[in-house]
């Protein structure tokens, strides 16, 4: 196992644990915005798609890249906006 893989695995495991710790405290009232907000966070896959662009140089690759960019951008833009729309509705009694 390469040192790089070990480092990545460490980050992944700690990320999972931090996620469990932070998210298990979210009240049921906010579960839909939480899921939607978490959905938006995995829109970071757009960063991955951008990095991929550097190694693409075939017509099929370009097509794949365009579709992946479309998917990822839709995920990230729509995810954050719809979560914000939902959370704006949660009002206090006052």
């Amino acid at each position: 196992m390469s040192p790089l893989l070990l480092a990545d695995l460490t980050v992944f495991t700690l990320g999972l644990l931090v996620g469990f710790e932070v998210i298990s405290k979210v009240p049921a009232t906010l579960h839909t915005p939480l899921m939607s907000g978490a959905n938006a966070i995995h829109g970071v896959v757009l960063v991955g798609v951008m990095l991929l662009a550097a190694s693409i140089s075939t017509p099929a690759g370009y097509a794949l890249l365009a579709v992946a960019a479309f998917f990822a951008a839709m995920n990230v833009a729509g995810g954050y906006v719809v979560t914000d729309r939902m959370l704006a509705m949660f009002r206090s009694r006052s």
């Binding site: 009232t29 839909t32 939607s36 907000g37 798609v49 693409i56 794949l64 365009a66």
Partner: protein
């Protein structure tokens, strides 16, 4: 590592921190919106930083730049439009759709990348497998939630066997890619198997189990994105993917617990009927007491404490505005009103809360199972609107389909009014013993019509 790389890594670390802080702020309704904004800001910085990396690297050719730019612009427009126009009742299918495209993008990353190491090959296979399965599975789930695919369990002949077969083929191809350095095109075979398996696995799952399924698919997408991070050796993807994986896993467990059904049984599918349960036993069955809207309104007006128990029937009739209007009328009449919300009252975790928040119910009044149950004995009237199985006292006894399911203790209230179209069964397909209790009165109406009649009667009475 050059100075530029170091700065980039530090910025990415900052972005990952923003994601964690953003999720942390979601612990309370008052700070949740800011949390999402912190997370979005982190995302914006991550994307801009990556843009700077690409420009400095100069390895993206003109065609790739156009493909990336046009694809991203189109996706952004589609996402923004969908997010702006979606109705709150349609939220589950939209979240499921965003989940699908996220998984799809993660799978495409591994398909487009030329793996440089065994690590990239192993994680690439996993990425394609999980990402493609989530993509097709989430699309089917989204279709079921939107009603474009029938919500009832659809059993495909030999579906289970086919999934097992696909798993074997995908595993074989994966081993070829990793162990024998088979051409990367073998990954397309893995993707095809995973896509088919996603469809076959999701079709047999009934509408009632959707909150669990979309939570689980959310966890899968998170994992797929983390795998894409391993392939590209990109830390922000690994961290964000792990966070989402954890979120999805927690919600999956909470939802499965709320239905008292093991996750394995839910994935096996075949449970429940889907949406419209129309088998009407007919109003006026011997043991059931009926009530008119006028009498019900008087009973509510005289109460000191009313608990509203909303269920799927309320969401289906889009009657959240009427329910909140009634609650506000009662509050201004001096009645204490709260909402008792079962975890699986909607189509996705917390969906009912969003619907009620949309209708301006203050979030302090939205109470979960644990908060609500101790309050029922002190409640004068429990008003059940379109909720069924989650109120069935039979769940406290062994030996029936709802046994052991955590329920709202509606039957412990001093009196109960149920607004329901008929005595039809819920997903579990059994009689609800609550309806035949002596303290229960039935107001047979569609949720929207029933609530409007109640509100009119209440206003006439209170005047």
């Amino acid at each position: 590592m050059s100075g530029f790389d170091t700065v980039v890594h530090l910025i990415y670390l900052l972005c990952a921190t923003a994601f964690v802080i953003g999720l942390h702020l979601m612990n309370a309704p008052a700070t949740a919106r800011r949390g999402n904004q912190v997370s979005a800001a982190g995302m914006g910085v991550a994307i801009l930083t990556t843009l700077a990396v690409l420009i400095k690297g100069g390895q993206v050719d003109a065609w790739a730049a156009w493909a990336l730019g046009l694809g991203a612009a189109g996706g952004t427009a589609a996402g923004l439009i969908a997010a702006r126009v979606v109705r709150m009742t349609a939220m589950p299918q939209l979240v499921s759709l965003f989940n699908a495209v996220g998984g799809g993008a993660a799978a495409l990353i591994a398909l487009g990348d030329r793996p440089a190491s065994t690590q990239a090959e192993v994680t690439g296979v996993l990425d394609v497998l999980i990402g493609a399965l989530t993509f097709s599975g989430s699309l089917i789930a989204s279709g079921k939630l939107a009603g474009r695919v029938p919500g009832r369990p659809i059993t495909v002949p030999l579906g289970r066997a086919a999934v097992s077969g696909l798993a074997v083929v995908a595993a074989g191809l994966g081993v070829l890619v990793i162990g024998l350095d088979a051409p990367v095109t073998a990954l397309y075979g893995v993707a095809a198997c995973a896509l088919a398996a996603g469809v076959l696995l999701t079709l047999p799952i009934g509408g009632a189990d959707m909150p669990v399924v979309i939570s689980l698919l959310n966890a899968c997408t998170g994992t797929a994105v983390a795998m894409a991070g391993f392939v590209l050796e990109s830390t922000p993807l690994i961290i964000a993917g792990a966070l989402v994986g954890a979120a999805g896993a927690i919600l999956t467990k909470l939802m499965a617990d709320a239905m008292n059904r093991p996750i394995s049984a839910i994935i096996a599918g075949g449970y429940g009927t889907g949406d419209a349960v129309t088998v009407a036993v007919g109003a006026g069955s011997a043991a059931v007491r009926e009530i008119t809207a006028d009498d019900a309104a008087i009973q509510l007006a005289y109460a000191a404490k009313v608990m509203i128990v909303p269920g799927y029937g309320l969401a289906a009739a889009q009657a959240q505005h009427e329910a909140v209007a009634l609650a506000q009328a009662l509050t201004s009449h001096g009645v204490e009103v709260t909402y008792a919300i079962h975890p699986v009252a909607g189509r996705m975790p917390g969906h009912m809360n969003v619907l009620l928040a949309e209708a301006n119910a203050p979030y302090e009044q939205l109470q979960d199972l644990e908060e609500s149950n101790p309050a029922f004995p002190r409640t004068d009237v429990a008003l059940v609107i379109g909720a069924n199985d989650v109120t069935n006292p039979a769940a406290r006894r062994p030996g029936n389909p709802v046994s052991g399911m955590p329920i709202l203790d509606v039957d412990k209230a001093k009196s109960v009014i149920v607004i329901k179209r008929s005595l039809g069964h819920g997903y579990a397909g059994i009689d609800n013993e609550l309806y035949t209790e002596p303290r229960t009165a039935m107001l047979f109406a569609d949720a929207k019509a029933g609530l409007t009649a109640l509100l009119t009667a209440l206003q006439a009475y209170a005047r």
